[in-house]
Amino acid sequence: MSLFDKFQPIVDIQAELQQLGVMPFGAVTEKLLSSTEAIVNGHQVILAGTNNYLGLTFEPECLEAAKQAIDELGTGTTGSRMANGTFAGHVALENELAAFFDRRHAIVFSTGYAATMGMGSTLAGPGDVIVLDADSHASIYDGVRLGGADIIRFRHNDPADLDKRLRRLGDRIENTLIIVEGIYSMMGDQAPLAEIAAVKRKYGGLLLVDEAHSLGMLGEHGRGVAEAAGVEDDVDFVVGTFSKSLGAIGGYCVSNHDQLNAIRFAIRSYIFTASPSPSVIASTRAALRLMQERPQLRDRLWANAHRLYNGLTALGLQVSPEVSPVVAVTIKDRNQAIDWWNRLLQHGAYVNLVMPPASPSDDSLLRCSVSAAHSPEQIDRIVEAFATVQGQK
């Protein structure tokens, strides 16, 4: 026995993949040709497996803001938000996020992971209760485990199951935090937030929603599923990330609870890590502004989502349950999924290969995502790549 024994299953899978000549995890993007095309593992591909939903990563205003910040403020803050790492830009971004979400308070974190993990681990501790959707992201699970509260799962997107679990808590509901996501990252399905909020109103507790994959996509202002469902008042905390629709890296939490300003100084993933670099803050602020100024980005994103969803459905593939910027194709057999992933790459489409336990079931997934920056022709080429791979034996 050694410390290394537990990694043997990973070593085995790596050896298996090497024999197949495929490297799906850690594929190398050698060159970016635009926000939607790149050279990956030597193949020129359309990027159909990113989270660049609004396609803002090469937006001139974002690039310019980042460059100017580097010139004026340097490459990094070299410190924690709580010490020397809070620059004027961090505070300005917090104010802009609060204004955008129409909430009183905002915290900026170094990553989305730090935001979700930090809120989950800090809000509920030993003796408290967390009730979370079973398909929650790893950052949520990591956070709530660290916090030490009693963790209870409810069936994915099932408000009746949530109801049952909250009822069983009795008085403990006073100390309960409910956690769900807006759009789920793997299958692209939306939480039934109106129904979930109704259950919360019936029993009590606090509700945190991770809108990592829904910022800028849904609701009149693009605030996400909570806004689209008309239940923002029932959502106590919204967390999210700058790494997807805003094209940078970093995370946030917004809330109307005045306690957020005290909670801030209890969150270890906020305190014990360096704050985001000035250039990251600058491009994020520019992207947040552009997202609000250009609602047409959202329209293009959804037009592309429909086009890809309909195209893949027409091929007879097993496609995720609802139209969304994330379109997942289920391939039951792991080796077949690996083979398809590899051949899609050769035919000019990069998608994400997802295998259990990262996928929500025992099946493997080819997770595709669309961007507002994709042209309709590019979407058609992604569908054609699937058609070609499907037709080959």
Binding site: I151, I152, R155, R168, S361
Partner: protein, 80 residues
Amino acid sequence: MPDYNEYLANIFAILKPFAKQGILLNEESELVTELGLTSLQVMELIEQLEDHFDMSIPLNILPDIRTVHDLALALEKLNP
């Protein structure tokens, strides 16, 4: 409140269709290593027990549970 034996009987009943063919269930049966339950099946087992006894079983108890006996004991402690 149900006692240890009642929990035990229910765990056996729920486990029967899950467990690998031909394995005899007893108190010392190990859920994962011996009966071959996947993590999803462990979750399902927990869920069925929660529904049957109308109780909450936090995931936090799982790291300490290896055998059927461990599980029945943990349920008794949660619902004394």
